[in-house]
Symmetry: C2
Subunit: 443 residues, 2 copies
């Protein structure tokens, strides 16, 4: 029985990987873990992060720095117990079909790493260590300020006192910390060492495709502040008729949106920030972008074209239901996986968007002008939406969405152009041409 | 004016990169250079290799090992002159629009690297050093045997004497060789260091997307012996009618091919080698693969589906000419770039095949069962066919093609199943349903 690729050429059954984070506190380990988990899930690869700190907090909710002193036997015992509990849960999760488990902890000694490696690999699970090594004081201080003063460890405490204590905690870790293979005796491990946020990267003994995908994704991440703006094209002539797909021109109101978009963008982006604009290759996104300032770089991507509706291209939902009743029902039943005859599924769109996501991660400020299904998929990546929900998200016309990646998630800001447009959202089972979205659901 | 992306998100105008190879002789530098050039050209990025040895041979066609002794002033002068001539030509080529120039030489001293870096970067061209560092004796001996005894430097000489002399040449290089940043004073360079054929990789200060693409490609290469087999699906019902695209079942003769394919494959692959089979998601490739042994892993890729003919899907060429005469002419005029209305161009297909090529490079033996246009694109990658030629290559039905990558190119072997099938090749301007390919042209 042939198995379908999930788009990165990996069969979930073939490999189970434990990503073991390594590094001092405030080096962005949790950020990396969280990004990797989100990326893998978006690609339908079951991934889960096991944060040892969360386990430790059961036993020691708000420890002070001396809890992390290597001479504190009680602290050492509790921290060890937390690591054991996290690893035990992770192994359980692997048994139930997990593919990439991420152990988010400092794992800062050779002994700890050896213990993790042996415990995990004797269950037939591959281990890849991912170390973030960073001596950049600004960056560390930024991390301490932004993240750690909002950590549950310091909840309700004075931020300055918290930051001071946290620096002392780091000092205790520094006393025992060994960078991976620093002594040359960990060269048999598979590892990725990211130094000073990607200035230098060492990749050791990467073996298979899934490992390589994870590594390539992680070395493309950066942490410079930036935003991604998303907009659908202006209302099109086919939108007015309630027909899907096609390559129509903008409606009168769609043209109005195109003329207003430069102001909308300027207000959200600011005057001085350089912006790159990506459109699809279809008329309605190119027309929507055409009044934007000339100094914005513009690129057209075929990969940003709307989901291909195959034989249903250009039809209304009523026509689809009349002509292909089984397909109409099958799509409502599993919209993420349903592939139009001769066309695409949402899953297919995610696969072709993967290089776009990789390029987005590498880039600074980008404005994407694309289509309903494509925007849903990109939005789902940033906001970690489930596959059951993402194909039903309302993405109204004539609205600019600003997404700003943060340490533990993505901020969202929505600006309406206040130009009327039809709704192209459709509820399950409905064949209405234009229907108001159910209020819940996002975007 | 919006510029189209070439599919890797890079605008050719934005960056010019000089890839400077580093490493002792027989470390696979020329192999890496040649692969990178082929990959970049396939992605429409103007790339060219400048081999300093070729320049040196003008002056010193068949030097013995002592020519490469650091104390040989005459040899040193000539080798320096060759490097200067190669770099001068490369800079000239950059001025005429070159994007990635590859300087293929040992560049084994810090002084030489500094000279290249300064000479090239003062012209505004980015420099990335790519070092292959390898101490694996088997591998080096293999390289010496396979490649260097067939080098023009030793043409007409006894292979054993040539190998001996070549080893002495390497020894002379070893006396002065410094691995990049070995002393810690080359940390400002952008470099990729590949150790023991990828066992460990160091990536230093990679800056932009094109650099990152090159690096990712190079770290995915391997040199274990393997082959790639290509086959079109068996003859389909639409092939019989001379109609393009669609999702038809196999014809009677197409079924015969599917039944015979296991034997054909077994004879070419051998009994014991594990093989992975990739098909498209269309019926005719899946049906063609269905009698293959169960122990072969099978994967279906949407990215291997036939070029999407958009509104022309399911038509004959005569019908296309009648209904879309301008399109018919435009396609013949520039078949690589012509995009069917609502469909794809060959250029689009190459873009969606890029992840497939990356996965192929990482893999061992793979059999791909796909479609005429897709096979043309994959074949063009391995055989470095020009964009003007590749859309016209004959790829007969019921034929198994075996491609085996070698140090300086790709071996090709073609086996016919001896089962008759219509020809789907079409000459420029023709609307014939079935037409014999012009004999020249490849595959």
């Amino acid at each position: 029985m042939p198995r379908r690729t999930n788009g990165v050429g990996v069969q979930a059954e073939d490999a189970q990987i434990c990503v073991v984070m390594v590094g001092l506190p405030a080096r962005g380990k949790s950020y990396i873990a969280q990004k990797a988990q989100r990326y893998l899930r978006w690609l339908s690869i079951p991934a889960r992060t096991f944060n040892v700190g969360n386990y430790r907090r059961n036993d020691a909710p708000q420890p002070t720095a001396d809890f992390f002193d290597m001479n504190n036997a009680e602290g050492e015992r509790k921290r060890r117990a937390a690591a054991e509990a996290a690893v035990a849960d992770m192994l359980q999760w692997f048994k139930s079909g997990g593919v990439v488990g991420i152990l988010d902890a400092t794992n800062s000694t050779k002994e700890r790493r050896q213990w993790v490696f042996e415990t995990v690999s004797k269950e037939g699970i591959e281990v890849i260590f991912v170390e973030s090594k960073c001596d950049n004081e600004d960056l560390i201080m930024g991390n301490i300020r932004d993240v750690k003063t909002t950590s549950p460890d310091y909840k309700g405490q004075d931020p300055d006192a918290a930051a001071l204590d946290f620096r002392n905690r780091i000092r205790n870790y520094e006393k025992i910390y060994k960078s991976i293979n620093e002594d040359g005796d960990e060269g048999d491990y598979t590892y990725l060492k990211i130094m000073d946020v990607g200035k230098q990267v060492i990749i050791n003994r990467i073996q298979d495709y899934l490992q390589s995908r994870i590594v390539y994704y992680l070395i493309n991440l950066h942490i410079r502040p930036r935003s991604v703006w998303l907009s659908r094209h202006g209302e099109s002539m086919l939108n007015l008729e309630g027909r899907i797909g096609g390559d129509a021109a903008l409606s009168y109101r769609g043209e109005e949106y195109a003329r207003k978009l430069p102001d909308l963008v300027r207000q959200s982006v600011g005057d001085d920030r350089p912006l790159t604009v990506w459109t699809s290759t279809l008329k309605r996104t190119i027309a929507t972008a055409r009044h934007l300032p000339k100094h914005y770089n513009q690129l057209q991507w075929k990969a940003l074209d709307e989901l291909d509706a195959g034989v249903c291209d250009g039809l209304t939902y009523q026509e689809i239901k009349d002509q292909y009743p089984d397909d109409f029902a099958a799509r409502d039943d599993d919209k993420y996986n349903y592939r139009y005859r001769g066309g695409e599924s949402y899953r297919d769109v995610v696969i072709r968007l993967e290089p776009i996501i990789m390029e987005l991660e590498r880039s600074e400020d980008i404005l994407i002008i694309s289509h309903q299904a494509v925007i849903r998929c990109i939005y789902a990546y940033f906001m970690q939406k489930d596959q059951e929900d993402s194909p039903w998200l309302p993405v109204p016309l004539h609205t600019l969405i600003k997404l700003t990646p943060r340490a533990y998630g993505t901020d969202e800001e929505k600006t309406s152009a206040n130009i009327k447009a039809v709704s192209t959202w459709r509820g399950k089972g409905s064949t209405a041409k234009h229907e108001d979205p159910v209020p819940e659901g996002g975007i």
